[in-house]
């Protein structure tokens, strides 16, 4: 139980760091002077002190959706797979619930975008709806396929199972699913090449456009939600698709887990540096790959049988 | 028993005198009394026979006659007819009903034919009561084609007679003894006769290829002619077909079913697509009448006696009512459906709506039940045959064709009721007529009545 709470707390705390780490790594790779990877923590604290401005045009949705965006993500935090093999985990919620909770958060994020009557918000929501509607099937397909391979839809159990019995027979399905999931990781968290979190240019904005009206604490919470989401996706990825290290002793397992998270962050940073942002209507091509890989992964699994 | 003919003769005689036409039309309603009497008192001799079947058909026809004669009260105002024309109408109406009663009650094929011929020839002149070139031409056309059809019937009857005479001697003309001795009849000649008779009857009822022929006639004539055709004349023809097909069923059921199905389906095919293009009420209703006739015939030969009789009775009540209501519906313009139902006023609109929806067999119309039972009979005969899937396919095809008719009626009904149109006046006698028919139709779905109809052929 302590290990479980520790894991959740750890992921909660490390989330802003991962975002900051990617940012500074990217700057370093581009020969800029890197910011500190802990900058997001400072930003968060600073924003908490600021005054909150609400739009006159906005409604109660603007206030409520902040909670509804953050809360599901925080709940997901407690549903994540364990990083220690004998730790407690929640068995009564499964991968679909996680997918659903993330969609719930996105749903309110999109409403938030539309609430302010600004053209930017609508633009962001519209694009997000477009991307999310393509991400959702890929996500479900991947989850389906990995849970079939892991023998359990409850991802915690699947993680443990994959650790001990890696499905060599279905390695093709596994690889396809992992590629699909990685694309989802990029797309869901608004990373290049799907979205650029660093600019505020209307041609490229997706996520930023929706939260353009937010200030102060609201902005801090949404940023936190974004960081948490990235951490959650990374955790899912490393637990499900890099299934090793969990059954080591607890401190080694912990180190391996952190290393795996950093590896994901480095990969994301490298991809961000080496690709350009896609035009919006090219994004489906990328997501289409994810969907097709997810589908193929499931399909191969079905064809091969158990 | 012979007082059955009395009301008709009274009408014929009175039509030569100057009598107030309201009185006249109430005299004409007296045709119902002998029908009611005969419905409860059956008899049987060489020339006449009253059994459940023809007593029922006579009763239905008399109710229709009552409705039609009441509707005559307002017709002169509507069409601007003269006294003389009305007198002519009643004269031929009397002859018509005399012939009809004769043929419905006859036990003898020859007598049956004579009655039918009387009725046919009298309608020729009824068509021409309206002074117009159209009516004139159509009455000629009716005379020629009707005469051919009717002589085909006689020709067939003589063939049947010649086929059965060696067996039954003078009794060979009786329906009754034919049915009794059906098993021993020499097949080939009888069947040729039967097919000639049926072809003649089908032509007379406007089956393929005569669909537009009858539609045009009813279009050109006064509205009452259509009502008399669909309510009374065709019931007599159907009766003949009913009786003869009973014999043929024993002689060779497969031939009967094949012939009737092919003919009926061809008719339904043509009629449903003609209805799809119908542009005025009269043709619409008369084409739908043909459709129902072919359904009745198909139901009957499939063994669905109850369905056929119920369908027949329902059609005999609903269709004349619709023909008579056409007088109101097209009081402004022919060839127009738009808004015609709207401006009549509450009760008449309700009555006509009920009738229009009843004719496409929506519940609780008796036609709903009769169609279900009829198709059930068809499926039953399919299970007995060796071509099960083909027969089921036929049922399906018929249902599809009926759905085209359904679509057209719905379209017209909506247009008539919900689009803008000019208000039109409706006479009290017309409302009375419609109510009579609606009440008669509703009576049909009462359980005792249904039971009585079911008991007719068992």
């Amino acid at each position: 139980m302590i290990q479980y709470l520790f894991t959740s707390l750890f992921i909660f705390l490390i989330a802003p760091f991962l975002v900051g780490f990617i940012k500074s790594l990217k700057m370093w790779l581009l020969f800029k002077r890197p910011v500190s990877p802990f900058q997001p923590y400072r930003d968060f604290m600073k924003l908490l002190k600021k005054e909150i401005i609400y739009a006159k045009e906005a409604s109660v949705i603007s206030r409520a959706s902040i909670f509804m965006i953050l809360a599901p993500i925080v709940v997901v935090l407690f549903l994540l797979p364990p990083i220690f093999h004998n730790a407690f985990y929640i068995s009564f919620m499964d991968a679909f619930t996680i997918t659903g909770l993330l969609s719930l958060s996105t749903f309110f994020l999109m409403l938030l975008g539309l609430d302010g009557a600004s053209s930017f918000g609508g633009l962001g929501s519209s694009r997000e709806a477009f991307i999310a509607s393509l991400v959702e099937p890929a996500m479900v397909l991947t989850m389906f396929s990995i849970s079939l391979m892991g023998g359990s839809i409850g991802i915690s159990k699947a993680t443990l199972h994959l650790n001990t019995h890696f499905p060599m027979m279905h390695s093709a399905s596994f690889i396809l699913a992992s590629i699909a999931f990685f694309i989802l990781l990029i797309a869901e968290n608004g990373r290049i090449p799907v979205d650029n979190p660093e600019t505020h240019l209307e041609l490229t904005m997706v996520h930023e456009a929706m939260i353009l009206e937010l200030t102060g604490t609201n902005l801090a919470l949404i940023e936190l939600a974004g960081a948490l989401k990235f951490a959650i996706f990374s955790t899912l990825f490393v637990s499900l698709f890099l299934p090793f290290g969990v059954n080591l002793v607890w401190y080694l397992a912990f180190v391996v887990f952190v290393l795996k998270l950093l590896l994901v962050s480095v990969t994301v940073a490298l991809i961000e540096v080496n690709t350009a942002k896609l035009r919006l209507f090219k994004v489906p091509n990328l997501l289409g790959i994810a969907i097709i890989f997810g589908f193929l992964s499931l399909f191969t699994f079905y064809i091969l049988g158990v | 028993m012979y007082f059955v003919f009395l009301p008709s003769i009274i009408i014929i005689v009175l039509s030569f005198f100057k009598i107030n036409q309201i009185v006249m039309s109430f005299v004409a309603t007296s045709v119902i009394f002998p029908a009611i009497y005969l419905f409860f008192n059956h008899m049987h001799n060489d020339y006449f026979m009253v059994d459940d079947l023809n007593a029922f058909i006579l009763l239905v026809s008399s109710v229709v006659a009552v409705g039609v004669s009441i509707s005559m009260i307002s017709l002169p105002y509507r069409l601007g007819l003269k006294k003389k024309q009305i007198k002519h109408f009643y004269l031929f109406f009397g002859i018509f009903f005399l012939g009809l009663t004769l043929s419905i009650l006859s036990n003898n094929m020859g007598l049956y034919w004579i009655g039918l011929e009387f009725a046919t020839l009298s309608t020729v002149y009824m068509i021409k009561i309206k002074y117009s070139t159209f009516a004139y031409n159509e009455s000629w056309k009716y005379l020629i084609v009707g005469a051919i059809a009717i002589s085909l019937i006689l020709f067939g009857i003589i063939l049947i007679y010649s086929a059965t005479k060696p067996l039954l001697q003078e009794q060979a003309m009786d329906f009754y003894s034919l049915i009794e001795n059906a098993k021993m009849i020499n097949g080939y000649l009888f069947e040729i006769g039967f097919f000639l008779v049926s072809t003649g009857m089908f032509i007379k009822m406007g089956f393929f290829p005569m669909n537009l022929w009858i539609a045009d006639i009813e279009r050109s004539a006064i509205y009452q002619v259509g009502a008399l055709f669909s309510g009374i004349l065709e019931s007599a023809i159907l009766l003949g077909f009913f009786r003869l097909s009973e014999v043929e069923k024993v002689v060779n059921n497969a031939h009967l079913i094949t012939f009737t199905y092919v003919y009926g389906i061809l008719t339904l095919f043509m009629v449903s697509f003609l209805i799809y293009r119908a542009k005025d009420y009269m043709r619409l209703f008369s084409l739908s009448g043909i459709e129902h006739m072919s359904l009745i015939v198909i139901f009957w030969v499939s063994g669905g006696y109850f369905a056929a009789l119920l369908h027949f009775a329902a059609h005999a009540f609903i269709k004349p009512a619709l023909f008579l209501s056409t007088a109101v519906l097209e009081s402004h313009r022919k060839y127009n459906f738009r808004g015609t139902l709207k401006g009549i006023g509450g009760t008449p609109t309700l009555l006509i709506s009920m009738l229009m929806l009843a004719i496409i067999s929506l519940p609780p119309s008796p036609m709903f039940f009769s169609e279900i039972y009829g198709f059930k009979a068809m499926i039953e005969s399919a299970t007995l045959s060796s071509h099960f899937l083909l027969m089921v396919g036929v049922v399906f095809f018929i249902l599809l064709l009926l759905s085209i008719v359904f679509y057209k009626f719905i379209t017209i009904y909506q247009e008539a009721l919900y689009e803008e149109g000019e208000p039109s006046h409706i006479y009290r006698s017309e409302i009375l007529t419609l109510s009579i028919f609606v009440v008669a139709t509703l009576t049909l779905i009462l359980p005792p009545v249904l039971q009585a109809i079911e008991g007719i052929m068992s």
Binding site: V75, F92, A129, I291 | F273, R277, V395, S403, Q414
Partner: protein
Amino acid sequence: MFSFDGLSLLFLFLILLGVIPNLVYMSGYLSHIERKRHFLIHYFMFIVSMVGVVLSNNLLVFLFFWELMSLTSWQLILTNSNAETMKAGRFYFFMTHFGFIFILLFFLLIGSESLFADFDSLKELLANFKYPTLLFLLITIGFLSKAGVVPLHVWLPYAHPVAPSPVSALMSGVMLKVAIYAFLRFIFLLPNWQIEWGVIILVLGAISSLVGVLYALAEHDIKALLANHSVENIGIILIAIGVGMIFMSLNLPTLSAFAFIAGVYHSFNHMSFKSLLFMSAGGVLYATDTKNMEKYGGLIKSMPVTTFAFLIGAISISALPPTNGFLSEWMIFQSMLGSNGLDAIELKISFPFAIFALALTGGLAIACFVKAFGITFLGLSRSQNSKHAKEVNGMMQFGQILMIFVVVGLMLYLPLIIKFINESLPIENIYATIFPTPWVMKSVNENFGAVSPILLTFALLLVVTFIAIFYLSLRNKERICHTWACGYNTSSKSQYTATGFAGPIRRFFTWLYKPEVHSHKQTVAGHTTKFESSFYEVHVQPLFEKSLYEGTKKLLNYISYIVYRISHFEKTKYSVLIFNLLVIVLFSFRVFYNEVTWGSVVLEVVIITIFVKILLIGGDKK
């Protein structure tokens, strides 16, 4: 005549759940209807007929109520008569009649003994029937055309929106479920299910769900949008039923039971949230007098209760946790997870496809309801209609609130509902397996799926409370200001429209939508980027309507034209026709009398051709 067995009572319960809030809502809506007496008569008859269908226990009574249901709903569609409702009414009534043909044929085939036999006694008869697949196809087409399954769904987006809103709610929410009831009722009577049947239903469901949601996305009419979503949800229900049928035919009763429960539970859920959505959409229509979403905006400020109701419905229909919509979709996914290890190749192909379709549907549904909710209720008013909108009257609010209770109740009392459903359907009792404890629902497959709506709700509330406490403890200052619009004034015109919102998706699915764009703009002299006024409108082409329905109509027109020509030709030549007819009849009789030989048939054809040529056609030239 009537039966009160499990299945009937289950759907009676469904009808009551849908009808009672609707009655309250309707009493508020009534002031908006012109022909009150006509409406009320048909409204109550409609409800009675639905109850009658569900309770009837013999074929004739069933058919009677079924047709009565069509008839009354048709009249209800025509409550406000204008060109739109007339088209919809005509279309609807014809399509129901078309389905009725199949139902009738089915009943006739199985009811050959007696039309008054009760359903249970039909079972033996059906076991001996020679062509079970024929029966299956008849049931499928007959009942599912009423349920609005692709490609027989085209009437639905026309018919449901034009009815008065309480009726739309009833039709979409309840009547479609009556069709599902009938389908279930009769499919369970059929013996020996074949695996192909299940696959057919599964594929139909998958296609319907996709097509429904895609056309919903492109819709600007809020009620038509909801109606298209009904197609989608019926598709989802059918996916579940199809999966259940497949498992049943593979002799996996537990999995099959789970899938059937999922399907029926989704029917309940769809009833609840679709009724709710139609009610609140009706409220919006009531207040703004337009169905066009482009004219809405900002209604959340003037109509809070309606907005809240719509929001709940939207979350639920988008299958977001922890709502009931999510739970049933979760169950459907779980039942599909049981499909690994199946051998048949058609299953190996159809299952991934169905999963994909369902997943894509979920994603698009979210997008669609963000659009519906966001454009309608958020932002600024886009027209005078919505600017002066007022909250609907008390009865209508109360009706919506009651329906919210139904939605929430279906989620919270999940174990009870599942138990009820399980015991009512003729399937294995798996309640104890699904609910070892009432808190957590477990899947029956070996994949340990589990979900707990109550705990999830509780967790969400807890987290929200925590954040709220944290938030309040900061005690930040608040300021109200206009939305930043790059230095310009914020105006309703600069907002995104429904068309714009769906733009990217529409562009992605261009091959399906084939959109027609109508646009023109009035530019200020000399400038290409500045314009005084502009107009942009997109209409998607309904593919199925264009191809299937217009095609059929064209064919009908063509045939009828030919028939018409023939009939007019015959007009002048009756005697010739009779002559030929006689020859044909007698000749055929002669040929078919004993044994048919090819020679005699050919002879007949030749002779008849000569007669027809000389008499009918040859004479015409002269």
